[in-house]
């Protein structure tokens, strides 16, 4: 049940999605990854991909133009 953070601030598409996909592979079931993003398109495509994989996703707008995406590896 570990929690990891992935800093994608200042990164544009498709880098945040590629980094998230790579990082999720290393996680164990039950672990949570928090992706820090400030690129509005990535707030769309990262959760879209994660939900398609069947993971639990939550998005939080932490500041103007800055988000944290919580992804729980469920399987």
């Amino acid at each position: 049940m570990a929690e990891y953070r992935l800093d994608c601030l200042g990164e544009a598409c498709p880098v945040p999605l590629l980094k998230t996909q790579k990082k999720m592979e290393t996680l164990k079931v039950g672990d949570i990854l928090i992706v820090e993003i400030d690129h509005s398109c990535a707030v769309k495509n990262v959760p879209e991909w994660a939900r398609k994989e069947g993971y639990n996703v939550e998005i939080e707008e932490v500041d103007d133009g800055q988000w944290e995406i919580y992804i729980e590896k469920t399987k």
Partner: protein, 177 residues
């Protein structure tokens, strides 16, 4: 109720619109642009004019170049910025995008992460600019307006944009991540 919690504010200004809504609006706006300027929407050709004007202001003589001797280009750089509808529409895109970001309260000055990112951005910009000139437009002028004009070159552009994006993403993963 706070503005941030208003469902209409959220739906119209905060959350991204659907791709379908965007496509329909872009199509309608392109019809309007075509009707009013006589040319379908394009983005990169005005950039070549901007370059010519800057070069001219620095003392250069772009009129002597083959590209700027073509009739449409020669007339456009002679007429100036405000007479070129597409130069003005480019300005509108920048201000419109800025306004949308402010209304959604998502404006943020992003930090530059690394020198690698700077190199990638400059290289990418140069390649896109060069490509847009030799293919007579970008994904707007050549693809979007080309396909809408029933021109074959738009469809050819569409096939090769996938090839380019495929090679580009492989290079991105290999050298810039």
């Amino acid at each position: 109720m706070k503005l941030q919690d208003n469902p209409y504010y959220k739906k119209l200004l905060k959350d991204p619109w659907s791709y379908t809504a965007g496509a329909v609006i872009l199509a309608l706006l392109n019809i309007g642009l075509f009707a009013s300027t006589g040319k379908p929407w394009g983005v990169t050709t005005p950039f070549s004019y901007w370059g010519a004007w800057i070069y001219k202001a620095l003392g250069g003589n772009p009129e002597s170049w083959f590209y700027f001797q073509q009739k449409a280009h020669a007339e456009a750089i002679k007429a100036g910025f405000w007479m070129d509808g597409h130069s003005v529409s480019n300005l509108g895109i920048i201000f419109g995008a800025f306004l949308a970001t402010l209304l959604a309260s998502q404006f943020k000055i992003k930090k530059i992460k690394s020198w690698k990112q700077v190199v990638a951005a400059i290289l990418g910009g140069l390649l896109m600019g060069y490509g847009a000139r030799i293919s007579f437009g970008c994904n707007i002028g050549a693809l979007f307006s080309g396909v809408a004009s029933m021109s074959l070159h738009g469809w050819v552009f569409m096939i090769f944009i996938f090839v380019g994006a495929f090679i580009g993403s492989k290079l991105l993963v290999k050298y810039f991540m």
